[in-house]
């Protein structure tokens, strides 16, 4: 596998996905029940997870997986549950942006952010709080 080619593709697509996710979260700030925005955040997190896992960027895969899991809850509820929850989703986005930036700047896999993973796991009242797990998908 030509890692340089896939790394470049990852950086290009992840950057686009994060911009799209950011726009969708801003839409959710205006209206927490915007179905299309909820779907976009879920889908972008899912896609980044798969790409990152393929390149063994475990920290990015873990964080995007956690964000995806949280968006499943939001999808089921049909809305983001308040400003605190939205703030945590923004923190997840910022964490991913920071990690993707590290890949771009250093060409190295970024370190994990267990505190952010735990914070996201605590988001929403209808979800259990599973320990951070290594993502393989």
């Amino acid at each position: 596998m030509d890692l340089a080619k896939y790394r470049a593709l990852f950086l290009e697509e992840a950057t686009e996905h994060l911009a799209e996710m950011s726009r969708a979260l801003l839409d959710l700030e205006k209206d927490p029940a915007t179905g299309e925005a909820i779907e976009v955040v879920f889908r972008m997190a899912h896609s980044i997870k798969s790409m990152a896992a393929s390149l063994e960027y475990t920290a990015i895969a873990d964080l995007s997986h956690r964000l995806e899991d949280r968006m499943e809850v939001v999808r089921s509820a049909g809305r983001v549950d308040g400003a605190e929850d939205l703030g945590l989703l923004f923190r997840g986005l910022e964490g991913l942006e920071r990690m993707v930036g590290i890949v771009r700047d250093t060409d190295e896999p970024p370190a994990g952010d267990p505190e952010l993973l735990s914070a996201l796991a605590g988001l929403g009242s209808s979800v259990e709080d599973p320990p951070a797990k290594k993502v393989t998908s």
């Binding site: 889908r43 896609s47 798969s50 393929s54 998908s137």
Partner: protein, 123 residues
């Protein structure tokens, strides 16, 4: 003769990865699709021998695309591309007519084995 293949995934990263795995091994990617709607249209236009179908895609999900393709061609050979944790969706896709599934991140041997077996079942 190479198996004419439609690769449907919203990430060009994943489409490229599948292409790189399968093209040296008897498959030819004749068309790619970035969403479920395009996948259905591409299937109609190119009538490929086999389809790899992502589940989570914009405009139309991979599962809905499977349903529509199978309605067009009940013998269509479709292999789902899933991630861990999507077991329920994979089951729904299989019930809808998909032949098998592969799991991301892709392991080349597993991808090739699954696609070949799916084609054998079709034949």
């Amino acid at each position: 003769m190479k198996a004419r293949t439609l690769v449907a995934d919203d990430a060009s990263f994943m489409r490229e990865m599948i292409r790189e795995i399968i093209e040296p091994e008897g498959f030819e990617v004749v068309v790619e699709a970035g969403d479920g709607l395009d996948a259905v249209e591409a299937f109609k236009e190119h009538t490929p021998d086999i389809v790899t179908m992502d589940i989570v895609m914009p405009k139309m999900s991979g599962i809905e695309a499977v349903k529509q393709i199978v309605e067009l061609d009940p013998g269509a050979c479709i292999v789902m591309c899933s991630a861990l944790g999507q077991e329920a969706l994979v089951m729904e896709a299989l019930k809808s007519g998909a032949k098998d599934f592969i799991v991301k991140p892709f392991k080349p041997d597993a991808v090739l084995t699954t696609l070949r077996k799916a084609l054998e079942k079709k034949d």
